[in-house]
């Protein structure tokens, strides 16, 4: 009965006359318009998220039915010191955190400096802006091919121009420096544009008033500019941190995780465990992914509140 009723209504609604008033009853139009996206969203985003959390509580090889093991995966990677997965999680997560701590400040400060310099509108600022943004358009793998050659010891320009010649990618702290340099070069364009727009929005009156009070350029920057663009700073800190937590390509292609796993990041271990050669250990991989995911969520929440309190 129920089915028939709705079917009747559907037919009714589909006729052009009843479309106009759009009163009660089931309307198929919403389903037609939002349905395709909602279906894709459910199948390729929502279900995999829940499935992913569930998998982290199972023993799974990607092929057979997952076998529920409760908290075993988490116990193993968090507390079993003799397990390789314990070492992987601690090394991988530690290196991921290091990467975030090294790159995020640089990815905020350098574009802010660039945007401030561009804000003065010197000659050619359109060109400068276009060039700083350019690498954003390039894939991580193309950029890493170029930069791994840049750091090459025997014929790379960096060792050619600087007299002291460290093995950039093979020794610390040079490997970390290389990763930070590359990440800054590749990805600051977006933040720079955001800051440019933000600086344009700061009223000139504030600066004039400050000048009358005898404030210097640096004082103006810290007391007027920074507070005025606080929202955009918060926004970029959050999106940059989240982006850097997903570090994968740079470490994989530039330092190959080395020297001796000192730059192997968690996403590399997750990929290796789930999709590497040999039998898949998707359960452990999922547990690691959940932990990484939680870090991302927690950090963005903490940042949000910290920057909010400073109001």
């Amino acid at each position: 009965m129920d089915v028939k009723l709705t079917e009747n209504k559907r037919v009714d609604v589909l006729s052009p006359v009843s479309l106009k008033p759009r009163r009660k009853g089931f309307n198929v139009m919403p389903a037609v318009f939002i349905g395709p996206h909602l279906l894709l969203f459910a199948l390729f985003f929502l279900i995999p998220i829940f499935f992913g959390v569930y998998i982290s509580f199972t023993n799974w090889d990607l092929i057979n039915t997952p076998e529920f093991v409760g908290l075993d995966n988490y116990k193993e990677i968090l507390f079993h010191k003799e397990s390789t997965f314990y070492t992987q999680l601690h090394t991988g997560l530690g290196n991921t955190f290091k990467f975030v701590i090294f790159t995020v400040p640089a990815c905020i400060i350098i574009p802010l400096l660039l945007a401030s310099a561009l804000h003065v509108k010197p000659k050619g600022s359109k060109w400068f802006q276009a060039i700083f943004y350019l690498p954003v358009l390039f894939s991580i793998s193309a950029v890493m091919i170029i930069w791994s050659m840049m750091f090459n010891v025997s014929f790379g320009p960096i060792n050619h121009y600087f007299s002291s010649a460290p093995n950039w990618l093979g020794t610390q702290p040079y490997a970390w420096i290389a990763l930070v340099v590359v990440t800054v070069w590749w990805g600051i364009g977006g933040n720079m544009i955001i800051y440019q727009a933000a600086l344009n929005g700061v009223s000139k009156d504030y600066y004039e008033a400050a000048s009358l009070d005898g404030a210097g350029r640096i004082q103006k920057f810290f007391h007027i500019t920074l507070p005025s663009i606080k929202n955009q700073l918060l926004f970029t800190v959050v999106i940059t941190t989240i982006a850097q937590f997903n570090i994968y390509g740079q470490a994989l292609m530039l330092t190959k995780g080395g020297p001796s796993s000192s730059t192997t990041v968690l996403l590399m271990y997750i990929q290796q465990n789930a999709f590497g050669s040999g039998q898949s250990i998707a359960g452990i991989g999922s547990a690691m992914a959940v932990i990484l995911g939680l870090c991302i969520m927690v950090v963005s929440i903490i940042q949000f509140f910290l920057l909010r309190e400073k109001k």
């Binding site: 052009p16 479309l19 106009k20 139009m29 919403p30 318009f33 939002i34 395709p36 996206h37 894709l40 199948l43 929502l46 279900i47 995999p48 998220i49 499935f51 992913g52 998998i55 660039l114 310099a117 010197p122 050619g124 600022s125 400068f128 802006q129 276009a130 060039i131 700083f132 943004y133 350019l134 690498p135 358009l137 390039f138 894939s139 793998s141 193309a142 950029v143 091919i145 170029i146 791994s148 840049m150 090459n152 025997s154 014929f155 320009p157 955001i194 727009a197 918060l234 970029t236 997903n246 390509g249 292609m253 996403l267 990929q271 789930a274 991989g285 999922s286 990484l292 995911g293 969520m297």
Partner: protein, 278 residues
Amino acid sequence: MKKLNISTLISFIFLLCMTLIWIFPLAWAFFSSFKDEVDIQTYGFSMLPVHWVITNYQDLLFDNSSTPVAKWFMNSMIISVTQTVMVLVVVSMAAYGYTRLRFKGRDWLFSFLLASMMFPAVVNLIPLYKIIDTLGWVNTYWAAIVPGAAAVFNVFLVRQFMIGIPLELDESARIDGANDFQIYTKVTLPLIKPVLTVVALFTFTSSWNDFLWPSIVFNDIDRMPITPGLQLLQGMYVTDIGHAMSAALIAIVPTFILYLFTQRYFLQSMSLSSGVKG
């Protein structure tokens, strides 16, 4: 007035130095792609090629089966273009639904979609592979095309733009007897072209540059797109700078050309998306 000139000068010099740092890798990559392998081994570092050759490009494009760069390029093109078209259709229809159609729970549903963006995408990597595998899409274009169309952010962006368009236009069309499909295609689509351009450019470039996901769902060398392909290539040309650089440059050509012609959309859209959230 004098002070202003000093700060302009300092800014100019600072920007000029930074620009040189930014351009140098690209310039060196460009010149190196025309270098002869033997010259590199003999002379070590040089900015310009000793002898200009195009053999690196020829080898990669026409004479290579272990790193089929031309094939990868075509695969990437098919994937990125198809995904862009698919996203435009799906997203604009969804945005129409969330702004122009009235139904129970509409705004609640949209808030839920927005909130879901908080979930970190790393968690769905492994299950998503299983779903793609179940659908039989591993090593097919679909694996790289379809999941990307599920993103919520594009719907958010288009919806935000559509809210700013007055409803009167829809209503007058409706009085003239147009149904929702007609309003969507004849009234709405032409009006939201600016935001759709932004979505199209971003979808194309992010699809072209996607790295982790395609490197998981493609293991057949002939089927993979160029971005994960370059990682394989890097392993084969570890010290062969000429070939490696030409491959990298081939891979960045499409987005570079796109940027040359549509720069203002890219720059404008960044401030658009931050303005909304910031």
